[in-house]
């Protein structure tokens, strides 16, 4: 489907992923305080869209670009309308790509430290913050720390091994088909 200024929009989405999140966070935090959500999980969740959304758009775009247009066209010749063609023909074919994109986004979001460092406090801390806080200045409980680190790194590693065939495409936002 032709979208006006497709390339420019694509570049813009890509550039939102490239901008350092902390620079974006300053004005957003000001906004969060204005609307009264301040520091907390709501603000953190919204900010994490900045990490995940451009990533997912670009990865899934890579997979859809690979599908021949004729598939969708033949579905429409057979009587599907556009939505139906998308649901019954295109989506099942790119479903592995969508799943891979979701996992990659999950990993990036899970591993993120910088945004949560300011946006969460105390009980709302995410795992990376909690792990790093468990290191005291004078004493470190190495046993506990080791357990916490394992709990933190296990989900990303297991997920990545599940999607290892899509890992390269995911990490490079679809620029490289692995």
């Amino acid at each position: 489907m032709d979208v006006p200024r497709k390339t420019d929009v694509g570049f813009w989405i890509l550039s939102t992923r490239m901008a350092p999140p902390l620079a974006i966070l300053i004005p957003l935090v000001g906004f969060y305080f204005t609307v009264g959500i301040g520091q907390g999980l709501v603000g953190l969740t919204v900010t994490h869209l900045l990490i995940t959304l451009p990533l997912i758009i670009w990865i899934v775009k890579g997979f859809i670009d690979e599908l021949p247009d004729s598939l969708e066209e033949s579905a429409m010749v057979d009587g599907c309308n556009r939505i139906q063609a998308l649901r019954t023909v295109v989506f099942p074919l790119v479903a592995p790509g969508v799943a891979a994109a979701a996992f990659i986004a999950f990993i990036f979001s899970w591993n993120n430290y910088v945004l949560a460092l300011y946006l969460t406090t105390g009980a709302s801390s995410t795992l990376p913050i909690a792990v790093s806080n468990s290191v005291g200045t004078y004493s470190i409980q190495w046993g506990q720390l080791g357990a916490a680190v394992i709990v933190t790194i296990l989900p990303p590693i297991v997920l990545s091994l599940l999607i290892r065939n899509y890992l390269v495409a995911g990490m490079t936002m679809g620029a490289v088909k692995g």
């Binding site: 989405i13 490239m18 999140p21 902390l22 620079a23 300053i26 959304l53 792990v131 890992l167 990490m171």
Partner: protein, 327 residues
Amino acid sequence: MLGLSAVSERYRKRRDGQPLLNRLEVSDSTLRWIFMLPSIAVLAFISIFPLVRAVWMSLHDWNLTSGKGAFVGFGNYARLLNDPEFFRFEFDPSQPLEFVLSGSVVHQAVYTGFSVTIQLVLGVALAMYLFSLSERWQPIFRTIFVLPMLVTPIATALMWRLMIDGSIGVLNFMLEAVGIAPPAWTSSPVMAMVTVIMVSVWQWTPLVILIVFAGLLSIPESRYEAARVDGAPRWAIFRHVTLPGIKYMIAIALVFRLMRSFRAFPIIETITSHGPGTSTQIMNIQLYRTVFVGTGDAGLGAALGIVLIVLTVGICMSIVRRVGMMQ
């Protein structure tokens, strides 16, 4: 003979049993906006709005908690340039060898330059080694090579901090066992930077390996055969067959490594806490400390953020455009 109305009648009947979403007839021009609006709206809120607001904030005296102050024009940018934590250069012509060059821009350049270069060289070398392995060992080594990248950065940082610890660090113990005096990892400015770059190389070389390995797989075997038939020596095969084949992949790896090195945070902050002094403080960390630690000088921080955004997006996008990632 079937008339047009009969056909459309049958067509409608078949549709009636379908879920509502399939029966909707929406024109393409409407549909394209329905598809695009949610993500465009969200992205606009988290990218255009903050960007405009950051520019606006950087032109004001602005405190994170108490809010907007007086309009200062480019005052924040001027303050940033005069800030010795941002850039400091002292040079005395009478003693040309004793100059001071520091500040977060300089640290950023050193950190990014060395870590990305080492990662690329090491990554290409290891990818070629991986490529040369037999079918049996390749998947095993590939998994091993990739693992560091999947470890949560904060966990990497804590792990390395434990390993280089002065009293209980296992790395010091191993070095002593082979008769090398362990260096003071984080106490001198140069060594602290070396340590940080080392950990960053450990964590992110796997990404380069993965990308370049995908490139190596895509080079057709016939090109190697042709080169071998012509009697090309090994370095010539690498120079004229392998390197052109993975040029695009190296550029992509460069973009993604550059992008992330500009936002490096957990590794540096955990291992050296941007010290000793501020000798490993890169721009991203200066930004964090300016705004979110201490008085909350959001005006200055926004100015620094704009500089950082322009640098990162400018450098990365120019490479992306040149190598044609969009196609």
